[in-house]
Symmetry: D2
Subunit: 376 residues, 4 copies
């Protein structure tokens, strides 16, 4: 009988459900030593929590996350609330000595993220942040290809995360636009492409960016005639410099009409190039210079059982993993880490590093100058 890992989840929106799906599947899919068990769900009030707990299969529920983080039956605290709540909850959970699995971006600011990372490390508590796109087997493969020198030394990175979920000016104001929760597109999805940049190429040293609010006011609520000003960015663009000497660009937009998950990156090396677009997340493009004359070209590698994690999900190449599978892989790493394996990743420390880049882009834009990450 597998040992149980009792989950306390805060938040039951889309990401909450996504966590539950991953918790349900990670252990059997990957034959893990701990079986997550849905112990306690917290939400904005008792009634909401009770209803969601029933739907999602949690044993108990509460309208107060403060109860959850100190509940003795809870082994792991998971945070899928609006960003503004990540910090107080995480600090409380850490104070209670519980490991924390928090959604991204970790905090409204790098300073907040640092406080959280420091606290976790001081308390010896394990943490993980939900940068799930890092778990795409082909991102892992890209990192492997870069690290192995297959494409030579990295000379350039180009990273984009474009979606269009905020492109309709009638999409109303929501917590994503609350400046108390942090920046806009550059934080919400710019953090994803930044996480990939760091994961695949390495630390970023300096940035020069421009961020912009495209839609200055939005309906205060769905269908409302009243409007509310938007104080966060809708799109961001930056040139960046990596510590290893490579140059790069990072862009993000949530008003990129027609783009649904244009999370793409290209790493150019002295001997080759690797490219991935999440709208075709099962295809990696690889070019290397060592090809026979007249037979050179980019190769389209479909995710297959030789790539990390895939074989457990699907035994045949080209049969596709999907969005939820990446989350299941993420939970796998977390459970392995909690069970004594390699530490979960990315942790709060790494999430702070990501947030520093995001903050640096915004500061750079405000001050019209290059900003070193060390300034943040």
């Amino acid at each position: 009988m597998m040992q149980r890992l009792n989950i306390g989840l805060i938040g039951s929106g889309f990401m909450g459900r996504c966590h539950v799906h991953a918790l349900r599947n990670a252990a059997p899919t990957f034959d893990l030593p701990l079986a997550p068990s849905l112990e306690l769900l917290a939400d904005v009030d008792a009634a909401t929590a009770a209803k969601a707990a029933k739907a999602l299969g949690f044993r108990r529920s509460t309208g107060d996350w403060r109860e959850l983080v100190v509940d003795p039956a809870v082994d792991l605290v998971e945070i899928t609330t609006p960003n503004v709540l990540h910090k107080p909850i995480a600090l409380a959970a850490i104070a209670a000595g519980k490991p924390v699995y928090c959604e991204k971006p970790l905090a409204p600011s790098a300073a907040d993220a640092k406080e959280m990372a420091d606290a976790a490390e001081a308390a010896g508590v394990k943490t993980q942040v939900g940068f799930n796109y890092l778990k795409n087997p082909l991102v892992v493969l890209a990192r492997e290809i870069v690290a192995s020198g297959e494409i030579g030394e990295v000379i350039r990175f180009r990273g984009i995360h474009d979606e269009d979920y905020m492109s309709d000016p009638l999409t109303p104001w929501s917590w994503r636009l609350d400046p108390a929760g942090g920046h806009g597109a550059v934080a919400d999805i710019g953090s994803h492409i930044t996480s990939i940049a760091r994961h695949v190429v390495g630390p970023i040293e300096a940035v020069c960016g421009q961020v912009r609010t495209i839609i200055p006011r939005r309906p205060a609520a769905p269908g409302s005639r009243e409007t509310r000003p938007v104080e966060v960015d809708d799109q961001a663009q930056a040139i960046v410099r990596f510590a290893n000497g490579a140059d790069g660009t990072i862009e993000a937009s949530w008003v990129a009409a027609g783009r649904k998950l244009t999370l793409t990156f290209e790493v150019t090396g002295t001997k080759g190039t690797v490219f991935l677009d999440f709208e075709r997340m099962n295809e990696l493009q690889l070019f290397t210079r060592d090809q026979p004359r007249g037979r050179t070209g980019f190769k389209t590698i479909l995710t297959g059982p030789e790539h990390p994690f895939y074989a457990s999900i699907c035994p045949a190449a080209g049969h596709h993993i999907g969005f939820n599978d990446m989350k299941t892989i993420e939970v796998r790493g977390l459970i392995v880490g909690l069970a004594g394996g390699p530490p979960p990743s990315p942790d709060f420390r790494e999430a702070w590093e990501i947030q520093r880049v995001v903050d640096a882009i915004v500061r750079s834009s405000r001050e019209g100058r290059w900003v070193k990450i060390s300034e943040i």
Copy 2:
């Protein structure tokens, strides 16, 4: 508390695990009225079954499927064994009055499939066959587009299912090559594209085909020097005529080097065209004639929450469903059907119709002539 649906599963290979994954997720993902419960697992012998039961989370296990099909605690019999066993197991389950969820192809021959469909209908037992690719939301969308007349009247269908899992001549003989289990590629994957042809366009009336064994002998076992003759086809090609007057082609190969899930179909209508390739299973190509001058072209539709089932899996377009999600959607239909909703589909009767086409292609090839489906 949700009502339980006790599962008796026979077979714990890849497809068995795939069923378990879908059973685990269908009810919570789609908020269904019945909760599948892993009651009893059968496999080739007691030890194998016991081990798999533990790994997959079944309550009990047995080395004899005959026990399983009559076990009073079992509400639903699921068959993921080699093809040759589908019929005896299904008939026994039907005789015991249990609904049956069987993998494809349903049976070694159309005659067998008919016997199974007749038995199920006579017994009033619900059935479903695992043609999971039909559950891709974009296949459902394609069917909707065709049925609605958006592309006019169908004049042509082109269907292909190419993979390369048997293309290496050193891949050893296995049950897939056992003629007692039916035909080769034309049955194993040709049945998939045939299921789509019927689902999207309608009944097929006649076929003229050619099937061929490319690799005449294979190692008797992995790494063995001894070889064994291959008696089934490796690739098949047919021209077909639909009852509604459309013409078509159907092709299948499991020796198509480099093709991993080239399951593609194109439906040409008098006013437009729709195309899907499962290697990009989240992209439907749609052309309609009613476009402004100088602005005409195929549109790439990414699966999104407006398409069937997707919103329950993932709320944002372009974020991808994967292979396992299609199976979860399949199980959703089954549970809805067992709970009194629309009957599960495709059922044994439809699987027989599919098998008739497969058998007709093979007979046509052997006899060098057009064969009407009504001959089979």
Copy 3:
């Protein structure tokens, strides 16, 4: 000073202009020994011919092709008339001892084509037929790859030529629909894909096809209310067998909504696959089995200076040749041949072989049976 090659061109429509473009460019582009000189243009009447001659830069014109073929100043007769006229003109030119460069399809029937090929050979006259798609450097590359064994032995060919220039039912009746000129889509463009099948894989032995008229009546003239019956096919599909043992399919349609130049072919070998789609005519897809584990995939080869003819047109890979460049390459082969180099190709003999396949598909469809090419 380059030696002149005096051209006599019959027909000044699109294809006539296309020939003139190629004649203008072939010698300087490829540094050829003969300079085509626009001597004499024939068209339906003297006025039309005179006007076109002026526009296209011909020295003289005539309303009677019979004059042209015997004109002593004409070194080469080029035929770009409606199909029905190819045979009488070519036979007259051959009788006058002139080499002939004729558009495809060569003749309304294989019998006609044979008569033309026999006459040319008897007279020792060089001929070339305008199957210009064979001149795409990537088709030449595909042939090279197949011939060299890079993809092993050919086991399957899939060929398609789909366009939609006749898909609008209001497109009026025209000479393309005149049964006196031969068959419909299967001849007009089916001959192209057949030419590629033979060029890349080899002779075809037998076919079983179905051809169909989709739009039974069309306006008798542009905008006319009067309609005229269509007696030729709009789409065709066939399974074929090659002499070397490979199986294949050949399809053609001029009513394939949205398809503009979907001239595609895929050659599957025992060790690899090669694929080309003319809508992306500068990209060849190549898969070979000899790739490192986890790094396998189709390679996209862009036309470049290592491929035949390209360097003379454009020195940098990926910069694209276009439709007219293929015709220029075609004329290059013709001039080289007339100047004593390797014989122009494909010649009338090869065009007859292509036409036999086309005729066999139609006969097969009419008689509902496999037809051997040797029957035609």
Copy 4:
């Protein structure tokens, strides 16, 4: 009889030949009023010029361009020399009152370009600069789509020009690397994407860029062991601001392994997006928000006869124009302009504006700050 336009061409390398091809074809293809006539060719010395004149079909030749620009028989001076010579030649031609058609980039620096533009305007001499990619019918279409408001107001531009012709460190030093001729990749191809940015979106106001030399030394000559330092950039990246308020990025690299003509741009508007990649130069991607629910997506528009210039080159959509066709279209505009039609474009004034952006990127990189174009 068409009036002649006597051409004096300086330079007979690839670009010289490319001009000759376009001169040969523009008038007949587009039925223009002036027929370019190859009058006089200049090259580095008399022998080289004489040989090239014979091969290319020029009447006369000279080893001294100074003779050419004042030759009374020359109606138009064309410059395809290394960049460093553009200015002295152009100024001399202008002084002689001749129109000038010069290759890009126009000059080593914006200051030089300004001097040239001023001189031409003062002399009332017409000019054109060879930014041939602007002549792709789909670039014209993109501009039309943006200008018409079909995608709303422009909020973002992303432009890339990546190639890999200098990515091999053994590629020797050449005039492209001579700092006297101007900057490196940012000028050689960065000017192309800048020309498109201005053409499609409008004037750029400020930039912040980083340029880098990747390969610091190269063989002094082909195969030489001696090396020579590289003083110009190999890659460049910039964030930019347009005068109309849109943000953007511009990138260029000639060491982007595997990229052959990755000249891509994406224009995001408030209501849609348009995208083009020159490696698929006959496909424009267009997204607009006004699509029916469940049927939204990017549309792939193939170049066709409804688009500018295409019908004269090829009457059927999807049949592809190539690299040389763009140059022919460029020459068409020039001839129309010289014959009294709309002025040729882009002219020296526009080429200066492009050069200012290029220079600003380099200065921005050197000074580590945003640079306004008005500073240049």
